[in-house]
């Protein structure tokens, strides 16, 4: 005692200034100490709490988990923690800014530790901290990081996946197909005579065409495993696992007709006078250094040479003669 009083501070002042709830109960569960923080957040004055059983001090019930934790500490003298995640609000404590109509119950982290009183009585020290602000902060950081994550992988103009996402996704799906020995299809798509569209109609109209084509391509996808990404300016790429070669050919044709059916006028595109796409596809089970993407690009080049507005589909493993046909 003398040691405490010899200090230049009053310990009571310190307890009452702490930015956490401090409460001591004795072996019978009666309150021996009740600091200002806990008085402020419970709306119960120290005088109304002292010497009363803790569970009867509050007008509302205290959580059963808190009571059994307290009982355990009093019985076994072992410290207990009650986490916010598992208990949320064990004690009826409120945030200062809640209104009377809408009292805002505080998220709490609680520790209960055994202590001896100077009369050698077994007591418990209960410390309560407010976790509301850290919960709010974590929620905010999480939602920000989700937005940033989405922005980092989405193409700003078309809202489909961007090149960065495609590169990572392509590498992963190829590795997956290699390992599991299942077929993978890559479709390279290019808007025909896009440069002359831009020159004639202007860049704003050009951007609008890119958006419409992206949406048309996206509308053809129905499986969660499939993606469409903007590969470059007016180029797109689709990645689809588990398609047999024949179905992949039909799908390439579906892509072509989806864009054709948009019927966007393009008078510089002869002879159809509307916006069309060329599609190069490649399907196969990737092994070793086979490059699906290169082969799809070769197929796209062939589709362009053959007069555009068409699809060329190549299997991954085929002889040179097939390519030259």
């Amino acid at each position: 005692m003398s040691e405490i009083t010899a200090k230049p501070f009053d310990m009571n002042d310190i307890f009452n200034t702490l930015n956490l709830g401090v409460c001591v109960v004795n072996a019978n569960g009666k309150v021996l100490l009740w600091n200002d923080w806990i008085a402020k957040h419970s709306h119960i004055k120290e005088a109304d709490a002292l010497n009363r059983p803790l569970d009867q001090v509050f007008p509302e019930p205290v959580s059963p988990a808190f009571l059994s934790a307290l009982k355990n500490t009093l019985t076994y003298r072992l410290p207990v923690v009650l986490s916010t995640a598992l208990h949320r609000t064990p004690l009826p404590l409120y945030n200062v800014f809640g209104t009377d109509q809408q009292p805002d119950r505080m998220y709490q982290s609680i520790t209960i530790t055994p202590i001896q009183s100077q009369l050698d009585e077994s007591c418990c020290l209960i410390q309560v901290t407010d976790s509301s602000t850290s919960i709010k902060r974590e929620k905010m950081l999480r939602s920000h990081s989700e937005i940033l994550k989405k922005e980092a992988t989405t193409d700003g103009l078309t809202d489909i996946c961007n090149r960065r996402f495609f590169d990572a996704h392509y590498e992963m799906t190829v590795a997956d197909a290699k390992r599991q020995k299942h077929p993978l299809s890559i479709f390279m798509v290019d808007i025909d005579f896009f440069k002359s569209y831009n020159d004639y109609y202007g860049h704003i109209a050009g951007d609008d065409v890119i958006k419409q084509v992206a949406a048309a391509l996206k509308s053809q996808l129905s499986r969660a495993t499939d993606i469409v990404a903007r590969y470059g300016g007016e180029e797109f790429v689709l990645v689809m696992p588990h398609l047999p070669q024949e179905i992949a050919c039909q799908f390439a044709e579906k892509l072509r007709s989806a864009v054709f059916n948009l019927a966007i006028p393009h008078i510089k595109s002869q002879p159809l006078k509307q916006v069309t796409i060329s599609v190069g596809a490649c399907t196969g089970i990737p092994e070793n250094d086979d490059n699906l993407l290169n082969k799809a690009d070769t197929a796209l080049y062939q589709a362009k040479l053959k007069g555009r507005n068409q699809c060329i589909s190549l299997p991954l493993c085929e002889t040179e003669e097939y390519l030259e046909q």
Binding site: R77, V80, A85, L86, I135
Partner: protein, 204 residues
């Protein structure tokens, strides 16, 4: 030297099964669903013989809840789960109570609480059965690799013994396994054996 007989280990197994039962009861009150914990084996080994196989440690990262306790004997108790499993347990436990599944800070705190419940239940079972009182520090939670954990378990030459409890925890029929490790000094191990002997003397 290791002077524990099969009988001693059986007795300790019984004590920790009682502790596990108490822990399961507390956990099911929190989860609001059935929780069961069993301790299929107890072994005491020299800490220099401990390796990743003893603790079934693999490459991943581990969550460790530590409490230091003292009384008739002193020990450092470490509860180990793989980090993945630790996160799964905590998410199972949080269930619909709170939509904070991915908030790391709260997961750590919840893991601390989970470890605290299991450790306290084991300590209180020992206290009841061997009729003594133990004091304990608050739990702390750390995430570490298998190597870091083994280093920590072996570094203190004052604690040459480890008592390893394999733990099987099931929440809503989902099974997880972990280890509870007690690091003991020679004197503490002798003290523990004495208490087990007294207990065995009483019941035989």
């Amino acid at each position: 030297m290791n002077n524990l007989s099969a009988l001693h280990l059986d007795a300790l197994g019984e004590v920790f099964s009682i502790g596990a039962g108490r822990a399961a009861l507390s956990l099911s009150e929190i989860v609001g669903d059935e929780v069961s914990i069993s301790v299929p084996s107890v072994q005491v080994i020299n800490s220099k013989d401990i390796n990743s196989a003893t603790l079934s440690l693999n490459d991943g990262r581990f969550g460790a809840v530590t409490q230091h306790f003292s009384g008739p004997f002193n020990a450092e108790a470490v509860l180990l789960f793989t980090e993945d499993q630790a996160l799964k347990i905590v998410r199972d436990m949080m269930g619909s109570q709170m939509s904070l599944e991915e908030l790391a800070e709260f997961e750590h705190e919840a893991m601390c609480e989970l470890g605290n419940i299991i450790l306290n239940a084991c300590l209180s079972a020992m206290a009841d059965i061997f009729s003594f009182t133990l004091e304990s520090s608050l739990p702390s939670y750390t995430v570490a690799s298998a190597d870091e954990i083994l280093y920590r378990l072996k570094k203190n030459s004052n604690q040459p013994y480890v008592m390893v409890l394999h733990i099987d925890l099931a929440i809503e029929n989902r099974h997880t396994t972990g280890n509870l490790v007690f690091l003991l000094s020679s004197a503490s191990l002798t003290e523990l054996v004495t208490h087990v002997d007294q207990f065995l003397g009483k019941i035989s």
